[in-house]
């Protein structure tokens, strides 16, 4: 990684760094609302993106994350609410005056221009001298490790190369904010993983404030400094990947980010800070906040990550019983699916890192399941939700 960084030329980095003095808030939205006809695409969204951070907007399609990105870019105007970039209100600023770098899902490279002309476009619009444009374009292409393809047209480049040209084109103008709209979704899996690393490295190196839209929770967890999880036009939770994964604020976030098992259980006890859930022979401590208003004996749904479930012989002390139905060998771990009556969907997913899990718990075996760790969460039951 260090050798990569050394190869890259530092000029761009210093240009961006020069802009990053001043406050620590790069983008701020206050109660921003946007409707399309009857559809509320965004409902009173409030969001603060810190200078230099990489924030992911994560959510299923139609959740409003792209609307949010287009509002920041200026392609859409908010119905209500305030939008600030670098402390200046930009509600009425047209996109071409916002100093935004944007990478589109399909890259939108100009097909009638060479790679170098694509990258230099923003600089030419700023009426920079020809030599300066040439130098900065070369720097930007070196930054994304694409030197040597300057004269090629977009259709002569591979998907990964187009992606890099698009990134270079957005970065070369030293944008105040870099916006990435599902930029990796068109790439195959292995290329996507390496581009994730690369985008993260470049982002760190330049310190450019970045908003990354994705529906892929794995991508969000691995890339982000912070994640904003959105559903149905609303931001449900903003936090670090670990916070989002370990302490999701509600059922939707818990179900969307990472794999999760939902077990039907009952509330054992509850006070101001902690509660316990009784499930089979186990009593599991959980945070009491999401269960506010519930009484001991009420039904509650226990949310447990697959790696927090452990298999054992059946017995009195286990939380649940089940029958092994499928093994999925994943290399570093094994995913075991169990049929279990307490699971909300009828099935449990147990992630075991034991090398002999497949032989020890064969298909058809009756097993006991115990819950471990302090990260279990419980929410009041929601009958319309499986």
């Amino acid at each position: 990684m260090s050798s990569l960084a050394a190869e890259r030329q530092p000029r761009l980095a210093s240009q961006v760094a020069a802009d990053t003095t001043g406050g620590d808030v790069a983008v701020e939205l206050r109660d921003v609302t946007k409707t399309f006809g009857q559809v509320h695409a965004l409902k009173e969204a409030t969001l603060c993106v810190r200078r230099g951070e990489l924030m992911t907007l994560l959510g299923p399609s139609g959740c409003g994350k792209s609307t949010l990105l287009n509002l920041i870019a200026g392609f859409l105007a908010p119905d209500r609410g305030e939008l600030e970039i670098d402390g200046h209100r930009v509600n009425d600023t047209p996109p071409y005056k916002r100093e935004i770098g944007m990478v589109f899902q399909n890259y939108a490279l100009f097909p009638h221009m060479s790679a170098a002309d694509n990258v230099g476009y923003g600089l030419r619009m700023r009426r920079l001298a020809k030599q300066e444009v040439g130098r900065r374009v070369a720097d930007a292409l070196a930054l994304v490790r694409l030197s040597g393809i300057e004269e090629r047209r977009p259709h002569q480049l591979s998907g990964g190369q187009q992606q890099r040209v698009a990134l270079a084109r957005a970065l070369v103008i030293s944008p105040k904010v870099l916006l990435l709209d599902e930029p990796l979704s068109a790439l195959d899996r292995s290329l996507r993983a390496s581009m994730q690393v690369e985008i993260k490295e470049i982002q760190r190196q330049l310190g450019v404030t970045t908003l990354f839209v994705t529906h892929d929770q794995g991508e969000a967890l691995s890339l982000s400094d912070r994640i904003a999880v959105m559903f149905d036009g609303q931001i449900h939770q903003i936090g670090s990947p670990a916070e989002i994964y370990r302490r999701p604020k509600d059922r939707l976030v818990a179900s969307f980010v990472g794999d999760v098992n939902v077990l039907r259980a009952r509330l054992g006890s509850i006070d101001r800070t902690t509660a316990t859930i009784s499930l089979g022979g186990q009593s599991i401590p959980v945070a009491s906040e999401p269960l506010a208003g519930c009484k001991p004996g009420d039904r509650a749904d226990l949310f447990v990550r697959p790696e927090q479930l452990h298999l054992s012989e059946t017995g009195e002390l286990v939380a649940a019983q089940g029958t092994v139905t499928t093994h999925i060998y994943q290399g570093g771990h094994v995913d075991l699916y169990l049929l279990s009556p307490v699971a909300a969907g009828g099935r449990l997913l147990v992630r075991s890192s034991e090398p002999d899990a497949i032989t020890r718990w064969p298909v058809g075996a009756a097993v006991g399941v115990t819950v471990s760790g302090a990260d279990a969460l419980a929410f009041p039951p929601q009958d319309d939700k499986p």
Partner: protein, 283 residues
Amino acid sequence: MTSQPFLRIFVAPGALAALALLAALATVLQYSLRLYVPGSLEAGGFTLANFTALLKPLYARVFLETVWISFLTAALTLLVAYPVAYALVHTQSRLTKAAILITAITPLFLGEVVRTYSWMAVLGNNGFVNSLLLALGLIDRPLQIMFTRAAVVTALVHVTLPVMVIMLAAALSHIDPNYAKAAQSLGAGPIRTFFTVTLPLSMPGVVAGVTTAFAWTFSAFATPQLIGGGRVNMIANLVYQLGLASFNFPFAASLSVAGLALTLATLGLVRLATRPLDKLGPP
């Protein structure tokens, strides 16, 4: 052949149609190479005289006039049609879209003669334009607009407009709107976005539209006949006069053949000149 069993069935009718068209063309071609016998509808023996006669200044002028009118019409139609097509593709309002479509496309269903008559009503000495200018006191006497090249070109632009609008709208609607968004995010205002991105990407449509308009206008007959009134003559008008007024079929045929050759040559030139533009346009 075996992989496409239906192809055989279409060969016979296809060949028949092609043969009929070729026969018509061959008839014109053979007439153009035969001697004119004054006072007779029959043509005489083989001669090249019809083609050498075409070189006379009188006829050469009509050829040049035709090229010039076709060029003016194609260029002006492009200038008028482009904004219309752009608005048609980019307006969000369905009502505006419908209004543009109806006003721009309906002339297509009226037929050339009806449209040309309507222009006579507008451009005539007692027509709309002159009445308006007189009423406003801008002129004392009606202007002579009819029977001028400007009047012919105006009417021809109207005739050609619908096709050009359709072709340009098709080209514009195939341009990914993200290109314009990308240009704007990179600092290009609406005007520079248009000239650096939208216009170059629509060039294939522009070339196709201009070529079609040019070829179409080249063979125009009714509009120059009615609006030009004999004072503005294009090739088709000359062919008509020679063939159906003087009954000089061989000379009319040689004019037609030369006109066709000129059209093809011009289109070939346009094609060569616009080859560098092929690289433009959405992939």
